[in-house]
């Protein structure tokens, strides 16, 4: 039997980027709140200090900062006809764990989505006709527009001290930036990071080919920065231990380096770490959340009553808690009814590995940061005419190699033996002169009727709750998109003077063992119609109005960018709606 704790105004489930942002905004509004986080508290100097932050084996290979599959995992299958099996070692994506969430180990690639991405269904239908889209594609408009989110993107970029070159300030196209981006109110708070030799060379080759390359917007600091909350970050040292790692010297924007120091000073904020929320409680009407139930590290169960519940866990865990709590109708792909679990998506990435003459090219790949790189956006979203190509969607592409870490960065030309003296010789010859961008083609994944999550009928977690079951495969649209983008990407490396260019297309079936990105999206999506979305345009549950669900679970489909900028902008958008609308008149904000 759960013991009951004193009531709070707000309970926040998960203390990553969105939980931290929301906690700060609502604490600032004077509410008494508690955040409950499944994983441990994490601090820079005690959890990933420079003395061992750069331990590739510990963090990259053994996944120290991530959720352990022994805590919980997912089951996976490609098709509805198959039986799903549990994932026992993370592969395609890396579920975060602990205070700071994915914001601790992200690359800090801080993108905005395109204006057309938010009205995708309308835009594509108007431009190409409704028959251009695959029949089973379930893309939707978001219910919020780029212009509405712009001030909130801005707020996050200034929180993070994002380093970048604006491409469009209030409609004026800026040289050196991304000319395709939506208009922004002002420049980035910091100039772009310096680009290493290879990245700069890619930019030059892209420009020579007629593209408009620009430095990737980066939450790695190009110079010291103090954000509007008074929190300071130091300049990036380009150490190349960023993605999968915590930053040891306060140079990467994370909740720890931007929000939490200010948040923990608020007397009306409390946090519980190592405590896992197992259920959102609702009253007998089913239309009002009364708080949450959680289990602490000792295994004791507690009830935390609250007037407002904010769900801000990782995508798939948001969906899981909704399903386990019976909030919203579960999605049924056969009947095409229900909303919780639908429009689940990931990303469509691929890579091109290029080999250059070692006598002429020394790239020093270990000089890097998580969001270093030169990119082009000509083939993202609907920035080009898809008419002749027979697919929709796209992505940015760039030389965004973030490291030369010795265990994983061993590119060798195709045909090299996989081990032994010949392999070692090839690694040595090519280490300084090969380019392996990682996820150089960062393509969108649109939503489909048969790609979704639900509760697994067979497998249970340590609390005897059903695991989440992922049903996912690539569809032809994404495979075509990736082929087109990868070929375009390879041309740029050819133009740089590579002697050999190896294209690694993304192909079906979806491979759950091979890392792509951690950008799982959807499952509790926002929209304008309660029959096809779980949340309204303010990320408020249609069914339980005192529940808001933050994070990429709200994306109706994924765009060709890293999602964190949009995830955070939506958190600020929601916080603003709660502060300016909901608190004055608690209830459903949209009449649908």
């Amino acid at each position: 039997m759960a013991r009951k704790l004193p009531r709070k105004d707000v309970v926040i489930v998960g203390l990553g980027w969105t939980g931290s942002i929301m906690a700060y905004e609502l604490a600032d509004a004077g509410l008494d709140l508690i955040a409950i986080e499944r994983g441990p508290w994490r601090n820079t100097a005690t959890d990933y200090p420079p003395g061992y932050a750069a331990d590739e084996l510990r963090y990259r290979i053994r996944h120290e900062l991530f959720l352990s599959p022994s805590q919980t995992t997912f089951t996976f299958r490609h098709k509805m006809s198959e039986a799903a099996l549990p994932i026992r070692s993370w592969g395609a994506f890396m579920p975060p764990n602990g205070v700071g969430g994915g914001g601790v180990h992200w690359n800090a690639e801080t993108w905005r989505f395109l204006p057309s991405d938010f009205v995708l269904k309308t835009h594509l239908t108007e431009r190409y006709g409704v028959n251009f889209l695959p029949e089973d594609m379930t893309i939707q408009d978001w219910g919020v527009t780029y212009d509405e989110l712009e001030p909130h993107y801005d707020k996050f970029e200034y929180l993070c001290g994002t380093s970048g070159q604006a491409g469009n300030i209030k409609g004026t196209i800026m040289d050196g930036g991304n000319p395709f981006e939506g208009p922004r109110a002002r420049a980035y708070p910091n100039p772009p990071q310096d680009q290493p030799f290879g990245h700069a060379l890619f930019g030059k080759a892209a420009r020579d080919l007629g593209y408009k390359p620009f430095p990737q917007p980066s939450g790695n600091m190009s110079r010291p920065y103090q954000n509007p909350l008074g929190v300071r970050l130091g300049p990036c040292t380009y150490c190349g231990f960023c993605e999968w790692f915590g930053c040891g010297n306060y140079s990467k924007a994370s909740p720890q380096t931007t929000v939490l120091p200010a948040l923990v000073r608020k007397p009306n904020f409390t946090a519980r770490d190592n405590s896992e929320v197992t259920r959102i409680n609702v009253d007998s009407s089913g239309k009002r959340a009364t708080g949450v139930t959680f289990v602490d590290a000792a295994g004791d169960e507690w009830e935390q009553p609250a007037d407002l519940v904010v769900l801000s866990a990782y995508t798939i865990f948001n969906v899981q808690l909704l399903l386990l709590s019976g909030i919203g109708k579960a999605y049924d792909p056969a009947a095409n009814t229900g909303v919780i679990g639908r429009n689940f998506t990931h990303q469509t990435t691929s890579d091109v590995v290029s080999f250059f003459d070692p006598a002429k090219f020394v790239f020093n790949p270990f000089i890097a940061s998580g969001a270093i790189g030169m990119c082009i956006d000509e083939f993202n979203g609907d920035n080009f005419d898809h008419g002749p190509h027979g697919f929709v969607g796209g992505g940015y592409m760039g030389h965004v190699q973030t490291n030369g870490r010795p265990i994983e960065t061993t590119p060798v030309p195709p045909g090299t033996p996989l081990w032994g003296a010949a392999w070692k010789k090839a690694v040595k010859e090519n280490y300084q002169s090969a380019i392996k961008p990682g996820t150089g083609v960062h393509g969108s994944m649109y939503s489909y009727r048969d790609v979704y999550v639900d509760l697994d009928p067979a497998y249970k977690d340590r609390f005897n709750r059903p695991l989440v079951r992922i049903t996912m495969d690539f569809h032809d649209n994404e495979i075509k998109q990736n082929k087109f983008l990868t070929d375009k990407f390879a041309e740029i490396f050819q133009a740089m003077g590579a002697k050999q260019v190896h294209k690694e297309y993304r192909k079906a079936p979806y491979d759950i063992t091979k890392y792509q990105t951690t950008h799982l999206c959807g499952g509790a999506i926002m929209g304008s119609d309660p029959t096809t979305s779980a949340l309204n345009r303010f990320l408020q549950s249609w069914d339980v109005p005192n529940l808001f669900v933050l994070g990429a679970s709200a994306f109706p489909q994924n765009a060709g960018y890293n999602p964190t900028g949009t995830v955070a902008a939506l958190a600020y958008w929601t916080a603003d709606a709660i502060r300016s609308k909901y608190l004055k008149n608690p209830g459903q904000l949209i009449n649908a």
């Binding site: 601090n43 820079t44 100097a45 005690t46 200090p49 420079p50 003395g51 061992y52 010291p224 103090q226 909350l229 008074g230 929190v231 300071r232 970050l233 130091g234 300049p235 040292t237 150490c239 040891g248 010297n249 306060y250 380096t257 120091p261 200010a262 000073r265």
Partner: protein, 384 residues
């Protein structure tokens, strides 16, 4: 009858005097109810309960009895206080100010908390001995303004020499624990930290402007240094809460204090410097930068951080071995921390890198392996 402005002045002065630091157990929900052990060179004293509880606090005391304790070191029962209570400094306060502090203390929550104050060994537990001590080291008498100095300087002098009791930590002590009057504010080591020379002549603060000092007192950080350890606590509980004018006044007064040139230049051996420099570039340069200059208000500048270049290496060794959490304040909430390296570096390596950071940018004496070893042993024995 309570006068609100008197209570408010008293609250401010109690903060400036940092009463809470000793009289509150850190993290306790019962401020000023005593019980915090105070480490002295002679043993541990425990700070008494100064809430208005009549039985275990000071609720039954008269204002005169309170004044006698604070400014004369005489307890209500006539016995002498140990100078862990900095009454030799508080003696400089005006009677009015002490009365206001008393007025404020009368308004806080009374807490019933009996405290066994004296845990010193014989013969130090004999308070009679304090009479002799007072004769040697205690000069009664309120602060007198110096008419040839500015109003700001005089205000700073009052705060530094009176309620702020800066010399309690920063002035060298005699074997009996009394201030050495000719070495005021020139640095002392206590409770496992070296409180550096804070005079402004030629010591480690020579390059600090009054604004740098004021910013440090107010925020715990400036372009050179970050407050941690005991000074972090002082900033958190006291100096960050004084007014901007008072912080500037203290800084102005301190900048006017001349001090000696540090010990003669003492170059370290080249092989130690080579080893220390290699360790520095490997482990330290990511934050402090290759040239030691750090990042203003975030990472200390090793050429100008007083605790690095002060004569006594205790703090620099402690911070390398154990790490340090800098203070977070409203104006500088970041609170960056230095990680511990004691698990990673042996005594010779600790000594080498300490020698490097002291000798490469400043001219502080080298640190021996033996000193590093002793500091490590002392830290292992510490409970805080």
């Amino acid at each position: 009858m309570q006068d609100f402005s008197s209570v408010e002045r008293g609250r401010y002065l109690a903060t400036a005097a940092d009463c809470g630091s000793c009289h509150t157990i850190p993290g306790s929900d019962h401020p000023l109810s005593g019980g915090r052990p105070i480490e002295t060179p002679f043993g541990v004293l425990v700070a008494p309960n100064i809430t208005p509880d009549r039985e275990t606090g000071i609720g039954a005391w008269s204002d005169d009895e309170f004044d006698a304790a604070v400014r004369k070191g005489v307890r209500r029962d006539g016995k002498r206080l140990y100078p862990a209570m900095p009454f030799p400094y508080f003696a400089r306060m005006t009677q009015e100010d002490v009365k206001d502090i008393r007025a404020y203390l009368s308004t806080i929550e009374p807490v019933h908390n009996p405290v066994a104050v004296n845990q010193l060994p014989f013969p130090l537990n004999q308070r009679m001995a304090m009479t002799v001590w007072d004769t040697l080291y205690f000069t009664p008498g309120e602060f007198r303004e110096q008419p040839d100095k500015s109003k700001q300087w005089n205000r700073g002098a009052y705060l530094v020499e009176g309620p702020g009791h800066c010399g309690a930590c920063h002035t060298p002590k005699t074997a009996l624990g009394g201030d050495m009057p000719d070495k005021r504010l020139q640095g002392y080591t206590l409770q496992g930290w070296a409180a550096p020379d804070i005079t402004s002549g030629q010591g480690p603060l020579a390059d600090w402007s009054a604004d740098d000092l004021a910013q440090y007192l107010k925020t715990g950080h400036n372009r050179f240094a970050a407050a941690a350890g005991l000074m972090g606590e002082v900033v958190e509980l006291s100096t960050s809460k004084v007014s901007d004018d008072d912080a500037k006044a203290m800084a102005t007064y301190l900048k006017g204090q001349s001090g000696p040139k540090p010990a003669a230049d003492s170059a370290a051996e080249s092989h130690v410097m080579a080893a220390g420099g290699a360790i520095y570039q490997d482990l330290c340069s990511a934050c402090h930068k290759s040239d030691g200059s750090g990042v203003p208000n975030l990472i200390p500048d090793l050429a100008h951080a007083a605790t690095v270049s002060t004569g006594d290496p205790t703090t620099v060794l402690r911070v390398i071995l154990q790490g340090a959490q800098s203070v977070a304040t409203d104006q500088e909430p970041t609170g960056p921390a230095m990680p511990a390296f004691g698990w990673q570096l042996n005594d010779a390596q600790v000594a080498a890198v300490a020698t490097y950071v002291r000798n490469h940018w400043g001219k502080a004496p080298p640190v021996s392996e033996d000193e590093a070893k002793k500091e490590r042993a002392q830290l292992d024995a510490r409970t805080n």
